[in-house]
Symmetry: C2
Subunit: 367 residues, 2 copies
Amino acid sequence: MALLSPSRRVRRTPFSEGVEAQGIKAYTVYNRMLLPTMFASVEEDYHHLKQAVQVWDVSCERQVQVQGPDALRLIQFLTPRDLGKISPNRCMYVPVTDQGGGMLNDPVLVQAGPETYWISIADSDLLMWVNAVAACNGFDVTVSEPDVSPLGVQGPKSDDLMAQVFGDKVRDLTFFGCDRFKFNGFDFLIARSGYSKQGGFEIYVEGSERGMPLWHALFEAGKPLDVRAGGPNLIERIESGLLSYGNDMTSDNSPLECGLGKFVSASQLGTCFGGRAMREELEAGSAQMIRALEIEGKAVPTCDRAWPLRADGEIVGQVTSATWSPDFATNVAIGMVAATHWNGGRALKVDTPDGPREARVRHGFWN
Amino acid sequence: MALLSPSRRVRRTPFSEGVEAQGIKAYTVYNRMLLPTMFASVEEDYHHLKQAVQVWDVSCERQVQVQGPDALRLIQFLTPRDLGKISPNRCMYVPVTDQGGGMLNDPVLVQAGPETYWISIADSDLLMWVNAVAACNGFDVTVSEPDVSPLGVQGPKSDDLMAQVFGDKVRDLTFFGCDRFKFNGFDFLIARSGYSKQGGFEIYVEGSERGMPLWHALFEAGKPLDVRAGGPNLIERIESGLLSYGNDMTSDNSPLECGLGKFVSASQLGTCFGGRAMREELEAGSAQMIRALEIEGKAVPTCDRAWPLRADGEIVGQVTSATWSPDFATNVAIGMVAATHWNGGRALKVDTPDGPREARVRHGFWN
């Protein structure tokens, strides 16, 4: 692995000081911001995440704030998902599509206040898309990137840690439920969400100056729980089937191909960007779809590019994320597979940099 | 420095194999793609760049391709610069602004064919902005990111190297002139441009499969010239006053604040995005502007965040890029300085992570 050159352009976060003090070893860059990927080692971080509790600097999940009388109407225009159930107590996962139905981002939508919404984004400058749509159509909104940085608390002991800092009421949040909870005199917006399936929360930290006091409080309260710093873990996210925009899907893919059909509402396809393409795909059936795959043999090398999937020599898809799973003692993978070959149990071959391997389409993910 | 975690999302380039073989030590991530920043060391790369010739993998300067009958009309709408002089033999530096006049990107515009333009971008997903503007206004264009990766040849011996691979006619290109030159039976679009002031070219490599054959040919022909792999060099770019989007300017800044007033045409301000804000700024005068600054004392630490500039204790600007210059035996820096304090010679103080230092506004850059 090569080093990452520091510069202002690759932005630090309100928690960078804490991340450094915890011994960060590797980052990735996400929305032009530092995202910690490794503290002890990817495997050690993984085992710890599944047993204890971690604090994650996921500031890079930047907010596109849409504020004003037309805010919800504009956002509804951007996604095929019906936003009827959004509320200050309920956040929603909302695929955002372009005019051809390609995925531009797969953010979480949060109602942060009256006529104020945060689109909490994956790795693409969705601000540009939303701002241009607003500017060109005369919506009465202001679009901006506010000083709001999510802090993740993930792992089976998340509830215990959060209850100590924010009070026992935080335990009552249901999945994707959200509410405001007080710490140091400020009401933080907190959702039961996050980029692992080990349970946990995301705290939307408004105001960089509130970052480190909260970080320190979580580490202080978490000592008996063996709290550590962490970040999205490659092994755990593949086992759990958590898709990564830019890795497992790009603007070349529709929400249906990404297995996100349940977030595509027929009622929206007449008005949202790409609705026509998605309706045609619904009628004709998708040509390919995201699948869990198992790759045989010893640990695969680092998957830093798409690996072709073959059947009888012909390309029928590609693997986009893959790694060795210690808990399942196999290589776990995510890939896009043609309709002709996507059934669970199907045997395929995958071209890895080390040579071809046997692979098998699974019926589902692991966690 | 921490490591950079590899993943498909942080994209490899058509030249990554060559970059690795040349002993890459550090990258940055630019447009979600790998950009080499260091081979031997930043200082050794710098001395070599100023004496010989380097091949730079600047694939991360992605192209936003706008194709169709309305292509030029759409692009003119995006920039305050009058595009009247664009031609297949002349590329142009074009600030792109949002509705408030903030900089969204500072790309180079290239005419790649009939009704076909490449906006060769700095580090932001301008594709989203252009695509949304096209979609919302019914322009008859197709907007895409084609498989086109620029390869830089930079340094005083660039002409000699390029002439060997593409023929002597390439020497006739003037600054920002461009034309097509044959290699291996294909006509490559080449411009006399690039992100150094040591002279050089950018080759727009169409089709990833053409990348490594060209890379190898340049290294083979360049042996007597001591050709090496390189990349944008922090020291040289500050000495030369080459601004970096995301470092020295963001969407918070207007083109005028960035010292790009000569690319703002009064004739366009009635129609382009942000024209009204720019006109008001032209009338009222800019509140701040980019300046070269010298920082006294020993080598400054890594500048990975904005450093406040002060006069009599009050903040009057910020330094956004800074490093020690071996050739000028001082710390060279780029910053944004308030109108009240931007005159050449003005003494200021800068808050570095090592403590306050004396700084001085310069009349111009070094190279």
